[in-house]
C-alpha cells in the first residue's frame, strides 16, 4: 500500500464515517430521550435514498402511500384514544385530523410535484420531508403506549418495527436497487489526495447537521425540553414536558437524520430495500463505542468505524463486515472494564 491508496481509503472511510456519525448520533439521541434502542434507524436511510430515486424517475414514490397508510392508522388510534378520554366525537375528529394534516399535505404536494421533474435539490428536500413524517407516526403507533415498558421490551418492539419497515420497503420499492446521481460531480486533487464533490458534500452536510443539532439542543426551548427528558423523564413530565411529544419529536429528528444520511450515501453506493440495516448498525457500533450516552465519542467512534471498514475492504474485502462488527467486542470489553458495576436497571 502506498500513500495514494492510503489517502483514498482514508477519505473514503472518513466520508462513510461521517454518515455513520450522523446515524450514531440519532441512535444516542433516541436512546437518551425514550430508552428505545432504535434498530430501524437504517430503514429511514433506505427510505430517504429510494424515495429520491423514484422521484428521479418522475413517479410517485411508494413511501407516499405508506405514509398515508400509517397516518391513517395513527389518526384512528389518536381519535379513538381522545374519544375514550373525552367521550366527544368532535374532539376525537379534531385529534384525528391533527395527525393527518402534515402527512396528507406532503402527500398531495408530492403527487403534484412528482411528474414535474423538478431539480435534484427540490426533490431531495421533498424526500427529506416525506421521510421525516414517518418518525412521529412510527413512535405513535409502535412505542407510545409502551413508553413505560422495560428497555428489553422496547428493544424487542424495535426489531418488530425493523421487520415491518423492511418488509414494507420491499413491498413499496421492490427488490431492485438504485443509485442516485451525485449532487456535485466535481473532482479536486490536493496534492496526492483526490476528493470528489460528493465526499465534500457529505463532510460539509454532516458537519452542518451536527452544528445545527448542537444549536437546537443548546439554544431552543424544544431542544432543552428533550435534554430534560433525557436526564429525567418523570421530572420533565412534572415540568409540563409531555413525554409523548418528546418521543415524537425525537423520532422526527431521527427520521430526518436518517433521510439526510440516505440522500448523502445514495450516490456513493447502490441502495436496496434492505441496505439500511447494515448501514444503520454501523452507526450503532459507533453509538455503543460512545456508551449510548456520549455524542462526541459516538461521532469519533463512527469515523473510526468508517476508516476501519475502508482499510478492511482493501485488505480483506469479503471480510470487511466481519471486521467492523467484531470491533464491537473489544470495545465492549474495554467499556466493561471502565464502566465498572452496572446497576439496578429495569
Amino acid at each position: 500500500m502506498d500513500f495514494s491508496i492510503a489517502s483514498i481509503l482514508l477519505v473514503d472511510g472518513l466520508t462513510n464515517g461521517a454518515i455513520y456519525a450522523l446515524l450514531g448520533l440519532a441512535t444516542v439521541l433516541v436512546f437518551a430521550v425514550t430508552r428505545v434502542i432504535f434498530i430501524p434507524q437504517g430503514e429511514f436511510v433506505t427510505y430517504g435514498a429510494l424515495t429520491l430515486a423514484i422521484l428521479q424517475t418522475g413517479k410517485v414514490p411508494g413511501t407516499i402511500w405508506l405514509l398515508l397508510l400509517l397516518a391513517g392508522l395513527a389518526a384512528l388510534a389518536e381519535s379513538f384514544q381522545t374519544w375514550k378520554r373525552h367521550k366527544s366525537v368532535a374532539a376525537a375528529t379534531v385529534a384525528g385530523f391533527k395527525v393527518l394534516t402534515f402527512p396528507v399535505a406532503i402527500g398531495v404536494v408530492t403527487i403534484w410535484a412528482a411528474p414535474q421533474q423538478f431539480s435534484l435539490l427540490v426533490q431531495a428536500g421533498l424526500s427529506v420531508c416525506i421521510v421525516t413524517c414517518f418518525g412521529p407516526l412510527v413512535y405513535r403507533l409502535a412505542y407510545q403506549s409502551l413508553a413505560d415498558a422495560t428497555t428489553l421490551v422496547l428493544l424487542i418492539v424495535s426489531v418488530g418495527v425493523h421487520f415491518i419497515l423492511t418488509g414494507l420497503g420491499l413491498l413499496f420499492f421492490g427488490a431492485e436497487g438504485f443509485r442516485n446521481p451525485p449532487f456535485w460531480d466535481a473532482r479536486f486533487s490536493l496534492g496526492a489526495v483526490n476528493l470528489s464533490g460528493q465526499a465534500l458534500i457529505i463532510a460539509l452536510a454532516s458537519l452542518a447537521l451536527i452544528v445545527m443539532l448542537w444549536l437546537f439542543f443548546e439554544k431552543t426551548l424544544y431542544g432543552k425540553a428533550l435534554r430534560a427528558t433525557a436526564v429525567n423523564r418523570l421530572g420533565a413530565r412534572l415540568m409540563g414536558i409531555s413525554s409523548q411529544t418528546a418521543g415524537q419529536l425525537t423520532l422526527a429528528m431521527a427520521a430526518l437524520i436518517g433521510a439526510l444520511s440516505g440522500l448523502l450515501i445514495g450516490p456513493t453506493t447502490t441502495v436496496f430495500y434492505d441496505s439500511g440495516f447494515l448501514i444503520g448498525l454501523k452507526g450503532f457500533v459507533a453509538a455503543v463505542i460512545g456508551g449510548l450516552a456520549s455524542y462526541p465519542v459516538a461521532a469519533l467512534g463512527a469515523l473510526l468505524v468508517g476508516v476501519i471498514e475502508a482499510f478492511g475492504s482493501f485488505w480483506a474485502s469479503s471480510f470487511k463486515e466481519v471486521i467492523v462488527f467484531t470491533l464491537i467486542l473489544p470495545v465492549l470489553f474495554w467499556r466493561s472494564l471502565t464502566a465498572g458495576h452496572s446497576d439496578e436497571d429495569h
Binding site: 428489553l152 428493544l155 426489531v159 421487520f163 418488509g167 457500533v285 465492549l332
Partner: protein, 588 residues
C-alpha cells in the same frame, strides 16, 4: 394421578401415535422442523422470559452447532455423536466469552453485542472458503445409531421430539429448584439477588450458556436432518425470528417455546403462499406480518399465547413433603452481649458531598439498635455502606471481629448479615414460600445439573422446611402458597423479614420496614421484632416511624446531615432537645 402426569402421558402417547399412524410425510417433516426450532427457542425462554436478558444471537449459536458438526463429519469423518459435543463445547466457549464481556454492564449490551457478533459470524460463514462460502457444506451424513439409520422421517421425529420434551422437562425441573429461584431473581435487578448471596454475574453467564447450548443441539439436529448447511438460516434475522417465536408463545412460560414455534411455522407456511398471491410478486412479505404481530403481542398479550392456557390450568398448592426433612445446619451465634457489628469512623463522599461523616456506633448481640434521622440524614447511605452496596470512602466496618469493609454484598450475606429493602424486592410470580426459600440460597449447594435430574430433592425439602419455619416465626404460616404479588404491604414486609431469617443471620438489617404500613400491620411488625429479639437475634433498624422505634429498640443513634447527633436509650432520645430541634426545628 396428578394433572401434570396426565399431561405428560398424553404428550408421550401423542408422540407415539403420530409416529405409528399414517400421518402424511409432509406433516412429519413439518413437525421435525418445529421440534428442531423449539429447542433453540426453549433456550431463549430461559434467557429472556425467566432471566430478563435477551440475545439476537440464538441463530448464530444454532449455526455454530450445525457448521461444527457438518464440517467435522464431512471433512474429518468424525461421528456425529462426537461432533455434537464438540459443537456444544465450541458454543459454550463463545457464550462464556460474550457473556463475560457484556453481562457486567447493563442488560441491553448483551443483545447489542450478539447482534453485531451474529452479523460477523454470518459473514464469516459466508466468506470462508473452508466452509463453502455462501453455498455451505453439502453431503452431510444422516444420523445413525449402532448402524441403524434414523433417517429424516418418523424415527428422526421421535428422537427430535424426545429431545424437545426432555429439554422441556429439564427446564421445568431447573426452574423449580434452588438454582431456578436464583435465576428468577435476576429479573428483579441484581441488588436483591446479591444480598441473598447469589453471584448474579455467574448465573447470568450460566443461563446464557445453557440457552446457547440448547441452540447448538438444535443446530446439530438441523445439519443432520437437512443433510446440508448454508449461512442463511443462521443470520441475525433468523435470530430475531427465534425471539419472535418466544414472545408469541409466551416468553415467561416453558411451554411457550413449543407453542410459539408451532404457531409461527404454521403461519409462515400459510403466509408464504397467501401473501405473494395477494401482492402479485414473490418476496418474503411475511416479515411484515411477523413484525406487526410482535408489536401487537407485546402491547396486548405480553405474556404470549400460552398465558391464556396457563390461566385455565389449576394451580395446586405445593405438596407438603418436608416435615421429615433434615434440618439445615445452623451457624454459631454470638453470645448475649458480645459485640456483633461495629462501625468505626465510616465515611462516604459523593464528589464534594459528604453523605456520611465519620459515624461510629455498634450493635451488641441480642440488641435492637435504631438508626433514625430526618430525611437526607444519611441513614440509607449508612445502611448501604454496611451491606456492601456502596464502598466506604474511609473508616471500617467489623462484624464479629472480622473486617467486612471491602466485601461485596453476597460475601457479607455469607458471614451472617441479612437485610430487607426499603422498597420491597420480591419475585411477584413466585409463591410466598418460594420467595422465602430464596433466602436460604447460601445454605444449599446443589447446582443446575442435579436440579435438572432431580437429585436435589432432599436438599429442596430442607430448604422448604426452613422457609416454612421462618414464615411461621413471623406469623405468615397460612400464606405459604399465596403468590407474592397478591400480598398487601404489611405481609410483603414480613415476607422480606422471613426471607432474611432464612439465611440464619446473626444480625438482621431492616431498612424502613414500617414504611407504607397501616396501624395494625405496624403492631404486627413490632410484635415480630420483639419476638426475634427475645430469641436472641441482633437487629439494626433504620426507620422513620418514631412510634415503632421507641417501642422496640434498646438503643438509638440519631443522624443529621450525615453526622451522628446523639446516641442513647429511647428515653434519652425522647428527652433530647437536640433531637427535637433536628426534627421540628428550633424556636427563634
Amino acid at each position: 394421578m396428578s394433572l401434570g402426569k396426565i399431561g405428560w402421558l398424553t404428550l408421550v402417547s401423542a408422540l407415539g401415535l403420530i409416529a405409528l399412524l399414517p400421518v402424511p410425510e409432509f406433516w412429519i417433516t413439518q413437525l421435525n422442523y418445529i421440534g428442531i426450532s423449539s429447542l433453540a427457542v426453549l433456550g431463549l425462554i430461559l434467557l429472556t422470559g425467566v432471566g430478563g436478558l435477551t440475545s439476537f444471537g440464538q441463530a448464530a449459536f444454532v449455526g455454530i452447532g450445525a457448521y461444527t458438526s457438518a464440517y467435522l463429519t464431512v471433512n474429518a469423518g468424525l461421528s456425529p455423536w462426537l461432533t455434537l459435543f464438540i459443537g456444544v463445547g465450541l458454543t459454550t466457549l463463545c457464550a462464556v466469552v460474550l457473556g463475560w464481556i457484556t453481562l457486567r454492564m447493563s442488560g441491553h449490551y448483551l443483545p447489542l453485542a450478539t447482534l453485531a457478533w451474529g452479523l460477523a459470524l454470518y459473514y464469516t460463514m459466508g466468506n470462508l472458503q473452508a466452509l463453502g462460502k455462501y453455498d455451505g457444506i453439502q453431503g452431510v451424513t444422516g444420523l445413525s445409531l449402532f448402524g441403524w439409520e434414523l433417517g429424516q422421517g418418523r424415527v428422526f421425529f421421535v428422537m427430535t421430539w424426545a429431545l424437545v420434551l426432555l429439554g422441556t422437562l429439564f427446564m421445568l425441573h431447573l426452574l423449580d429448584s434452588r438454582v431456578g429461584r436464583a435465576i428468577r431473581a435476576l429479573k428483579t435487578g441484581s441488588q436483591m439477588a446479591e444480598s441473598m448471596g447469589i453471584d448474579t454475574l455467574k448465573f447470568k453467564i450460566g443461563i446464557f450458556v445453557i440457552s446457547a447450548a440448547l441452540a447448538s443441539v438444535s443446530g446439530w439436529l438441523y445439519a443432520h436432518f437437512q443433510r446440508a448447511v448454508n449461512p442463511s438460516p443462521f443470520s441475525v434475522h433468523s435470530g430475531i425470528e427465534y425471539l419472535f417465536m418466544a414472545v408469541l408463545g409466551g416468553v415467561g412460560h416453558v411451554w411457550g417455546a413449543i407453542t410459539g414455534v408451532t404457531l409461527t411455522k404454521l403461519m409462515a407456511d400459510q403466509l408464504q403462499v397467501l401473501l405473494p398471491r395477494l401482492i402479485g410478486t414473490s418476496g418474503s412479505y411475511e416479515t411484515i406480518v411477523f413484525g406487526v404481530l410482535l408489536v401487537l403481542t407485546l402491547k396486548y398479550a405480553p405474556d404470549g399465547i400460552w398465558a391464556f392456557v396457563d390461566h385455565k390450568l389449576p394451580r395446586p398448592p405445593r405438596k407438603v413433603n418436608w416435615q421429615n426433612a433434615a434440618p439445615l445446619p445452623q451457624r454459631s451465634k454470638p453470645a448475649s452481649g458480645e459485640m456483633v457489628l461495629q462501625a468505626i469512623d465510616i465515611r462516604k463522599e459523593f464528589g464534594g458531598l459528604v453523605a456520611v461523616n465519620n459515624i461510629n456506633f455498634s450493635v451488641q448481640a441480642g440488641q435492637i439498635m435504631g438508626l433514625i434521622g430526618p430525611n437526607g440524614a444519611g441513614k440509607s447511605t449508612t445502611f448501604n455502606l454496611i451491606t456492601g452496596v456502596l464502598g466506604l470512602t474511609s473508616g471500617r466496618v467489623t462484624f464479629r471481629g472480622e473486617d467486612i469493609s471491602a466485601l461485596a454484598s453476597r460475601d457479607i450475606a455469607k458471614r451472617g448479615i441479612s437485610r430487607t429493602f426499603q422498597h420491597v424486592k420480591m419475585i411477584a410470580d413466585m409463591t410466598v414460600l418460594e420467595n422465602v426459600a430464596l433466602g436460604a440460597h447460601l445454605r444449599g449447594n446443589r447446582g443446575a445439573l442435579s436440579a435438572t435430574l432431580r437429585l436435589d430433592r432432599a436438599e429442596e425439602q430442607s430448604l422448604f422446611r426452613e422457609a416454612e419455619i421462618q414464615l411461621r416465626r413471623v406469623g405468615m404460616g397460612d400464606a405459604l402458597n399465596e403468590l407474592a404479588g397478591n400480598l398487601a404491604m404489611g405481609p410483603q414486609r414480613l415476607l422480606e423479614i422471613a426471607r432474611a431469617l432464612c439465611n440464619d443471620p446473626a444480625l438482621l438489617l431492616l431498612d424502613e420496614p414500617a414504611a407504607g404500613l397501616r396501624y395494625k400491620e405496624k403492631q404486627a411488625l413490632a410484635d415480630v421484632l420483639r419476638q426475634l429479639k427475645s430469641e436472641g437475634l441482633s437487629i439494626l433498624l433504620v426507620e422513620h416511624d418514631m412510634d415503632l422505634v421507641m417501642q422496640v429498640t434498646d438503643r438509638i443513634v440519631v443522624m443529621e446531615f450525615g453526622t451522628r447527633l446523639i446516641e442513647g436509650t429511647p428515653e434519652e432520645i425522647r428527652a433530647s432537645p437536640a433531637v427535637r430541634a433536628a426534627y421540628l426545628g428550633t424556636e427563634h
